[in-house]
């Protein structure tokens, strides 16, 4: 009897898990949308900070283009592909959406890319990493702006293999992004003469990673490849430290944001290799942006925040140059122009939608090396865009090999 009552209660609780915001925009405006994880595990990589960065870009552009006011719509996709896709569709149909910034979560962005193709609305993917977005799942309106799994693997995995870490075991998040990242890293490891000894696939948002990690340790591999992100990444690295695994295996972060390093602390994260598309302390331009951002958010921006800013600015620049928001004209012009701002120097959008730009292999500083707050990374290697993102694979019909 109590069991049955319980089921009813659960159903009621689940029904309460719904949300959303209404948004309207008149025809005389340029409408930019942002659909991202605003409340879940990835909310600090882009999330609310991403919205702030987009607002900064709109303000820097003067708040208007072609004599029309620029408005921003935002929504939380809650890491659910159906929520993201239906919001995108709704805005396209009812709010006159001109461009969408896609936030974290590869699964959601694959679903949204399908809407972008159907509705002909340019989609700038920022926080999601899956390289399939510009391969099997590519569309004529998708731009993959900040990083992808290929670039992460080319950066971190090849650097570690070349410095002697030949045998790898992976702790992989059990969904699209994790397996794409693991595959990409495996290929790079093999291509550089290393060996993949195995992998354990942990469900997303596991409570405890110690059992998985002991399997990794049992493999005898030299490198522990962490093909996960957000809280999963932090918790697994923390547990690896606790169990002394980091003494026998070298951990490799296949995706880590500066927000992750900040939460872990340098004591735990020191020595870690990672690849990033941008770092706040690279040069005068990045520091200037970071300073303005910090004043608003009290944290340093991640590569996603800088990317969201840059993507918005690039789009508005193209619209101004073309003199129209016609999606085909905009995409054609975007693929011709060079992107030069604080995020990228000489970046360009390839036919398959990859924004090719310099990537950085970083090593996390030790607490002694860090001289001021947020002084976390030292640059190990600067990778030219072509090296980082690799050649066109041919998997995308828009860009034959």
């Amino acid at each position: 009897m109590k069991g049955r009552k319980w089921a009813i209660r659960l159903a009621a609780a689940l029904a309460a898990l719904a949300g959303g915001d209404a948004a309207f925009a008149a025809g005389g405006e340029i409408v930019i949308g942002d659909i991202d994880d605003l409340s879940g595990t990835y909310a600090d990589a882009q999330g609310v900070g991403g919205i702030e960065a987009i607002k900064m870009a709109i303000a820097d552009f003067g708040g208007a283009v072609l004599g029309k006011k620029i408005v921003l719509l935002t929504a939380d996709h809650q890491n659910k592909p159906d929520v993201g896709a239906s919001k995108f569709r709704e805005w396209s149909d009812q709010s006159g959406l001109n461009m969408l910034i896609g936030g974290s979560n590869t699964g959601v962005n694959i679903a949204m890319a399908k809407v972008a193709a159907a509705k002909k609305v340019p989609l700038f993917v920022i926080g999601a990493g899956g390289a399939s977005l510009t391969n099997e799942d590519c569309t004529a309106y998708t731009v993959h702006y900040v990083y992808d799994t290929t670039a992460l693997a080319n950066g971190t995995a090849s650097t570690i293999v070349k410095s002697g870490g030949k045998t790898w075991f992976y702790l992989t998040a059990d969904y699209a992004f994790g397996s794409q990242l693991q595959n990409a890293a495996s290929k790079v490891v093999e291509a550089n003469g290393g060996k993949n000894l195995g992998a354990v696939r942990a469900p997303l948002a596991s409570m405890d990673f110690s059992s998985f990690l002991l399997q990794a340790q049992g493999s005898g591999a030299a490198v522990l490849g962490l093909a996960n992100a957000g809280a999963d990444f932090s918790n697994s690295l923390k547990a690896a430290n606790e169990f002394g695994i980091t003494k026998t295996m070298k951990p490799a972060a296949l995706l880590a944001f500066i927000s992750d390093i900040h939460r872990l602390g340098l004591q735990t994260a020191q020595g870690l290799y990672l690849t990033t598309g941008w770092y706040w302390d690279l040069n005068e331009d990045t520091r200037a942006f970071a300073k303005r951002y910090f004043a608003k958010m009290q944290v340093e921006p991640t590569m996603d925040h800088a990317g969201a800013y840059s993507a918005t600015l690039s789009y508005l620049t193209v619209v101004k140059a073309v003199g129209s928001t016609d999606p085909d004209k905009v995409m054609a012009e975007l693929k011709k122009m060079k992107i030069n701002d604080m995020f990228a120097k000489g970046g360009y959008v390839r036919a398959d939608g990859v924004m090719v730009h310099t990537m950085y292999v970083m090593q996390v500083k030790s607490p002694q090396e860090s001289k001021y707050p947020w002084d976390y990374y030292k640059v190990v290697k600067q990778m030219a865009g072509e090296e980082a993102f690799g050649p066109v694979t041919g998997a995308c019909a828009l860009a034959p090999k």
């Binding site: 009897m1 109590k2 069991g3 049955r4 009552k5 319980w6 009813i8 209660r9 659960l10 009621a12 609780a13 309460a16 409340s39 879940g40 595990t41 990835y42 909310a43 600090d44 990589a45 999330g47 059990d174 354990v200 696939r201 942990a202 469900p203 948002a205 596991s206 409570m207 405890d208 110690s210 059992s211 998985f212 002991l214 399997q215 957000g230 809280a231 932090s234 918790n235 923390k238 547990a239 606790e242 169990f243 002394g244 927000s259 992750d260 900040h262 939460r263 872990l264 602390g265 004591q267 735990t268 944290v299």
Partner: protein, 278 residues
């Protein structure tokens, strides 16, 4: 073996839930939020007031317990006479508010809490390495669970509490202050959750979402053990932790659903739960 650590958290959390449900008939959906609050109380105590781990172990549950009492007096006592569903919705709402506030203040990625110096390091047991802190978690939770069981089943206070569940009006006629008793029970139950939060703080990243991912599993544990059964929640908490640990080795992809599969089986075969008294 490692599963026992997870099991220890399950046991502690489901214990608090079982106490609250067993003695008050309230399904406390805010339990995960109190667990999170416990961890944050420890973290903030350390950052702002320099309270160390051992201090936090006492103070954080106390602070959260007081908050629990206040919430019980302000909101929860109004729903006792209504359907249990109302209590559930109320506590669920409270947990959303708490989670939202924490997220607003600290962002979703959270912070790290250091392992106390005295419990640093690991014991090499030959077949595996056991960090001392994890051994401490198992020990501490067993002691706490045992203590709680003893208080409720074997002392005068415990029998008064149980009497209040059976017939509150009669007990009040005997001169016992029942409203005070239920406030204290709720406070005690959520203090247990906060204690689990403090214990967990050094092991995982302290984030506003930490309770959210745990609370559903804990509810399943309570259902398997039998709603309101204290012994049942402790035993099934530990057992399920171990079962989950084994699944992680044998078939890792299924490790986060195995508890729910068992819950479904138990509901079919023994709807009152393994230790249910109905």
């Amino acid at each position: 073996m490692l599963g026992l650590v997870n099991g220890a958290f399950y046991a502690l959390l489901s214990l608090g839930l079982a106490v609250i449900f067993g003695l008050m008939g309230v399904v406390n959906f805010a339990h995960g939020a109190f667990y999170t609050l416990g961890a944050f109380a420890a973290l903030l105590g350390l950052q702002w007031f320099g309270v160390n781990y051992w201090g936090a172990l006492v103070l954080a549950p106390l602070a959260v317990g007081v908050l629990g009492v206040v919430l019980e007096r302000l909101f929860l006592r109004h729903v006792y006479k209504l359907e249990p569903l109302y209590g559930l919705l109320l506590t669920f709402g409270l947990s959303l508010i708490a989670e939202g506030c924490l997220r607003e203040l600290f962002g979703s990625s959270g912070r790290s809490y250091p392992v106390p110096d005295a419990l640093q390091g690991a014991i090499n047991m030959g077949f595996m390495i056991l960090p001392i802190y994890r051994a401490w978690v198992i020990l501490a939770s067993l002691v706490i669970c045992g203590g709680t069981w003893f208080v409720i089943e074997r002392t005068r206070l415990g029998s008064t509490l149980r009497a209040a569940t059976e017939n509150a009006q009669l007990l009040q006629a005997f001169g016992v202050n029942v409203p005070l008793l239920s406030a204290a029970t709720y406070g005690g139950g959520v203090a247990l959750a906060a204690l689990a939060g403090v214990l967990a703080a050094p092991v995982i990243v302290v984030s506003p979402l930490m309770g959210n991912s745990l609370v559903t599993v804990v509810f399943a544990v309570v259902v398997i053990g039998g709603m309101g059964s204290i012994l049942g929640s402790v035993v099934s908490g530990l057992t399920l932790g171990v079962v989950e640990g084994f699944t992680k080795v044998i078939y890792p992809e299924a490790s986060n659903i195995v508890v729910f599969v068992i819950m479904a089986l138990v509901l079919i075969l023994r709807p009152a739960g393994l230790f249910g008294k109905e």
